[in-house]
């Protein structure tokens, strides 16, 4: 009989895959066979651990040793030392900050200590391509109980209501209420749809992708339970085509679930039937908006339509449709298995449970974290995120992507929940959290998000199609150094018009990055407009490079490297930069060994 003594968990999420983790898993297979350990050690290709910045991650259980930045070349040493001789390879252990963590204390690291993992409970712990492992981790326990006890659908909806779960896609509408509306809606022919929004489009956000890659069965089970509760007959997962790993794992999961009779006709031999199909989005941001998403599933161009009627009443093909976000579904079985009151005990008065965030930007621990609602931004940035790297100062955090706003440094103690974030002009959004330091120009950031919106506006309604473009032009005028103080007023006015008159949330929330930076960083806008200066030194038209004659040794290095031939001067004599030719690329600054070049 095979007695497995170790599991080697190799992260095969998108982050680690991009640094060749599948090859690492292959190398383990080869080395284990060579050491004749293939019957004693099992390799598990898992989803994301969250420590994306330190990937590829390999964890060896039950020892608990977590190796980071592993390469294919490290594998023979890990097998020889750790798996054959039981000696942990210290040099590869994941280190946190300046102090190394010990082998068995990954749960004690600052990164994990402040987290509560509900939606991500099985990410990195199970093999996402094995339905057996999912079942072993209490998967299909909730669905099994419901079908065995013939639970009243209303009591499931009541439990979800009681848990206080709100939509994790960003808007924060009560999930239980949404289920109730769909259940109460009457379908002319009895057909109701249950859909999952996996069209995660915010720049820098990858929460839904990680859940789909790490624990795809939890979404299938939750959708099946939702279908049981609201009377759904067919399910669709709308996932973006840019997530190839997530799609592959979902396809595998759907097939395995069908083979086990957990999807399809007569689930587990009962008279309840439900099936799920995938629909791939072509990457239009607007298709994350629920009405546009449904239009796209129907086979039309992804454009939003006015609400009401809401999807719960008339959605896909005019039938009542339940549409929830991936992360929302990821909470469902936990709530049913552990009790609604236990879920409601986590978080704040109005925001219950946890929220997953994708940490990105100027932060040490880029990665995926799940925190109880009400955790302060400071805890997320400084404790979990490990702070801003290179000794720079934290300037702002951007939540909610192109629909959200910036939270300045003096509001870092704001608790993260739906109400608090909205109150300070930002929003929860789907969970992207981008950290910025003193080198980021806030006008430039607002311009970046707006350029994204201009690209992604579907063009159906005029305010969004033309308004965002005009707003973008005004911001360009400012970063080019041609702005006036009147322009700032025009921007604000335009923002309010956009908010009020756009058809869908894309246009309605598009001004948020502009308004919140104007609110908290107005001095930066004024510096651009009045002093024609970019304090962070980002906006090219507003910076210039100069050579300090006293410091220049005439080494010619800058002149040699200048791509625009803008620097001239004799050997061993002070050089000068011709500002008319200078393209402000900054190459000279990086090359000068004497600190003679300054950026103003």
């Amino acid at each position: 009989m095979k007695l497995i003594r170790n599991h080697v968990m190799v992260c095969c999420g998108t982050g680690c895959t991009s640094s060749e983790s599948p090859k690492i898993a292959d190398a383990f297979e080869k080395e284990l066979a060579r050491a004749e350990l293939q019957d004693e050690v099992k390799i598990v290709r898992t989803g994301c651990f969250g420590l994306c910045a330190a990937g590829p991650i390999v964890m060896i259980l039950p020892d608990g040793a977590c190796y980071s930045r592993v390469t294919v070349d490290d594998v023979p040493e890990i097998v020889r030392e750790h798996l054959v001789k039981g000696r942990i390879v210290d040099r590869l252990l994941h280190m946190e900050g300046d102090e190394g963590t010990t082998a068995t204390s990954l749960n004690d690291t600052q990164f994990y200590k402040h987290q509560t993992r509900i939606a991500l409970r099985s990410c990195g712990i199970i093999d996402p391509e094995s339905i057996d492992e999912y079942i072993g981790a209490d998967g299909y326990l909730a669905l099994g109980n419901i079908l065995e006890n013939k639970t009243d659908p209303q009591s499931i909806i009541d439990a979800i209501k009681e848990s206080g779960l709100r939509g994790r896609g960003g808007a924060g509408f009560s999930t239980g209420m949404k289920w109730q509306f769909t259940k109460d809606a009457v379908s002319p022919d009895g057909v109701k749809y249950v859909c999952c929004n996996a069209d995660e489009g915010d720049p820098g956000a990858f929460m839904d992708r990680s859940v789909l890659e790490g624990d795809p069965f939890s979404i299938l089970e939750a959708m099946t339970i939702a279908a049981y509760a609201v009377g759904g007959t067919q399910g669709y997962i709308y996932v973006r085509a840019e997530y190839p790993i997530a799609i592959a794992r979902l396809e595998t999961a759907i097939q395995q679930a069908r083979e086990y009779g957990l999807l399809g006709k007569n689930i587990l031999g009962t008279d309840f039937s439900f099936d799920i199909e995938l629909r791939l989005g072509a990457g239009a941001f607007v298709c994350g908006e629920e009405t546009a998403l449904m239009t796209s599933i129907e086979g039309h161009r992804g454009e939003p339509r006015p609400r009401p009627p809401f999807p719960a009443v008339k959605g896909l093909w005019q039938r009542p449709t339940l549409l929830n976000n991936v992360e929302t579904y990821a909470n469902i079985t936990w709530i049913l298995n552990n009790g609604a009151e236990k879920y409601a005990a986590i978080g704040t008065e109005k925001s219950k449970g946890t929220k997953v965030f994708a940490l990105g930007g100027k932060i040490t621990n880029t990665g995926l974290v799940e925190i109880p609602m009400g955790t302060t931004l400071r805890t997320v940035v400084e404790d979990i995120g490990g702070g801003v790297p290179h000794g720079k100062k934290f300037k702002a955090a951007q939540t909610g992507g192109p629909s959200g706003g910036c939270i300045p440094a003096d509001l870092i103690d704001t608790p993260i929940d739906y109400e608090s974030l909205t109150a300070i002009g930002s929003m929860m959004g789907s969970g992207g959290l981008i950290v910025m330091d003193e080198d980021n120009c806030m006008v430039d950031i607002a311009k970046f998000f707006l350029s994204f919106i201009v690209d992604e506006s579907c063009g159906k309604c005029t305010p969004c199609r033309i308004g965002t473009k005009r707003l973008y032009d005004l911001l360009c005028k400012i970063t080019d150094g041609n702005g006036t103080l009147e322009d700032l007023d025009t921007i604000e006015e335009l923002c309010y018009h956009l908010k009020e008159s756009s058809l869908c949330a894309l246009g309605q929330s598009a001004p948020n990055p502009v308004l919140s930076t104007l609110q908290y960083f107005r001095d930066e806008y004024i510096a651009h407009v009045v002093e024609k200066r970019c304090p962070a030194g980002v906006c090219k038209n507003l910076v210039s490079y100069h050579i300090v004659p006293d410091k220049c040794k005439g080494c010619t290095l800058c002149a040699k490297n200048c791509p625009a031939d803008a620097i001239s001067g004799a050997i061993r004599a002070a050089h000068t930069i011709d500002s008319a030719k200078c393209i402000k690329c900054g190459v000279c600054l990086g090359n000068c060994r004497f600190g003679a070049i300054v950026k103003v």
């Binding site: 039950p62 020892d63 798996l83 001789k85 587990l268």
Partner: protein
């Protein structure tokens, strides 16, 4: 197509396999010395015996790990048992035949098998 009963059976069977990934602090930890000295003295069959015995008795909450050389090579194979909240116990010159006793007495009934410990071995050496 699976029935509800089959689903439950799969869950029970898989739970045992996934136990190895349980990182809870309340687990009893059995560490078998598997450095060159340990392996030469026969640590591998001892490790296998622990896994077999724990599987046979269907015990949960015990993680069997390996460790390196602790410096008493003459007493290998060495097995250390960590019960949470109690002092570590070191068994020496462990053979596969001793394993069922250690599992039954120490891991299940929490009675240290004193005659197999390093203390007993050292007294024997002095005598």
């Amino acid at each position: 197509m699976k029935s509800l009963e089959e689903l439950k059976a799969i869950r029970e069977q898989m739970k045992k396999q996934l136990d190895i990934r349980d990182q809870s602090d309340s687990n009893i930890r059995v560490a078998v010395g598997m450095a060159t000295c340990g392996i030469a003295a026969g640590a591998k069959p001892v490790l296998a015996a622990f896994l077999q015995e724990i599987d046979r008795r269907d015990l949960r909450g015990i993680s069997v790990t390996q460790t390196g050389c602790i410096g008493v090579c003459r007493l290998e194979p060495v097995v250390e048992v960590y019960v949470p909240g109690q002092e570590k116990v070191t068994y020496v010159k462990v053979t596969p035949e001793m394993v069922p006793t250690i599992v039954a007495d120490h891991l299940v009934n929490r009675q240290v098998v004193t005659r197999f410990t390093i203390g007993a071995a050292e007294q024997e050496e002095k005598a």
